[in-house]
Amino acid sequence: MVRPLIAPMAEAAAEAQFGPLPASTRERIRAQAGAAENVGYFFGEDIFIAIGSILLMRGFLQQNGILVEPLELSVWAIPTAISAAIIHCARLYLFERKLKNAAAAREKART
């Protein structure tokens, strides 16, 4: 999903806002796109009840004589999922501000 969709969209959005970008900045945007996909995937998937990690937790607890419902496990994944979304969005916001400042500095250097 990141290669055909997110990374090109992020790069194009940055270019539309801040003009032509140096190669190093492009790569950093692409890396951020890859990172955003991983963060979303890791901390979002556990909310679904039939995903591998939920089944592993359940199986392991069952072997140790504790029977739990997959739904309970997935409900307790929600606080972390929300925290992950807040933390990572805040970091992406800061990243965008940095890009903005760098673009302003480039503009200044040119004039």
Partner: protein
């Protein structure tokens, strides 16, 4: 009573069909390796109960030998082409999401309603396995729905599934393999050793130190192994169950759920998790091999601290 047996049968038949389709695919130079690999996997679903521990162990090692020494090839689905996909996509538009979203929706509905279905005084579904049974039913229903909407035949779906599976290749089974490795580690007593180490290192009656030892231990062990599935059985047998649950009376559900997610924080920081952190670097054409890891580390650290606090607040 419907339990896991039909689900395993279904999975076994699907992987068996994929093995047969692989064997028939002349476009794949390694078709026999693919057929043997998925055939063995199907066998473990269909006959695993009768093979015994040794038999299943030999089966898993055979799969590793096939994937490691011969290697698996990329098959190609018979009837797949871009024009057909584009025309179907144009015709159906966003309705294509219906079949995909049907799976989680129906799984949730099934997981909530199946336990209440009682026929002749006995539950129709094994109460311990309703989620997986509901998941399997949802997949079948979603397939039927897609069949009705798109008019494709079932063999075409299996063939497309095979092509997708070949893209992932043996890595598709990595989580299961690593979970099994973690279980072997735990059986070998690594968990107890970790638990003893932690018991010596931290104040014996500090709940917060114990929770932090578990969450940070999950993250560090996951970073070393590359996957939280291998770390979970070891750290949970070592710290989670004996200390957080038994000694301090913590809730095993909260302990397990947030413990696993602490492990995922470790996955964000390690080149060992190559499929997430290194492979995309190549796909995206980035020079710096560790650019994604660098972009993830601050989130991983902040979230690991958040997880530790969340567990401390909610587990007791």
């Amino acid at each position: 009573m419907i339990g896991l047996l039909p689900v395993y049968l279904l999975a076994g038949l699907v992987f068996g069909a994929i093995a047969i389709l692989s064997a028939l695919d002349r476009a794949n130079p390694k078709r026999w390796a693919n057929a043997a690999f998925w055939g063995l996997f199907a066998t473990s679903f269909l006959l695993g109960d009768h093979l015994g521990d040794l038999g299943n162990g030999v089966l898993v090692i055979s799969m590793v030998v096939i994937a490691g020494i011969v290697g698996l090839g990329q098959g190609r689905a018979r009837n797949s082409n871009m024009e057909m996909r584009n025309s179907l996509a144009q015709r159906h538009g966003n309705r294509l999401f219906v079949a995909a979203l049907a799976i989680p929706t129906m799984t949730l509905i099934g997981a909530l309603t199946f336990p209440r279905i009682v026929i002749g005084g006995a539950p129709l579904f094994d109460p311990a396995q309703t989620t997986l049974v509901a998941f399997a039913c949802s997949v079948i229903l979603a397939m039927a729905l897609a069949r009705l909407m798109l008019g494709e035949r079932v063999p075409a779906a299996l063939d497309e599934g095979r092509q997708l599976l070949d893209l992932l290749s043996w890595a598709a089974l990595l989580p299961q393999m690593l979970a099994a490795l973690g279980a072997v580690f735990a059986l070998a007593g690594l968990g107890t050793a970790v638990g003893d180490l932690v018991a010596q290192a931290i104040p014996a009656d500090s709940r917060f130190a114990t929770v932090a030892a578990y969450t940070f231990g999950m993250a560090i062990f996951t970073a070393m192994m590359g996957n939280a599935f291998a770390a979970f059985p070891v750290m949970t047998a070592g710290i989670g169950l004996p200390l957080i649950v038994m000694k301090f009376g913590g809730d095993p559900v909260v302990m397990a759920a947030i413990g696993m997610l602490s492990g995922f924080c470790g996955t964000l920081t390690t080149p060992m998790a190559a499929n997430f952190n290194l492979v995309p670097i190549a796909l995206l054409g980035i020079q710096d091999r560790y650019a994604i890891i660098k972009a993830q580390i601050p989130t991983a650290i902040l979230l690991l601290m958040t997880n530790t606090v969340l567990m401390y607040v909610f587990v007791f």
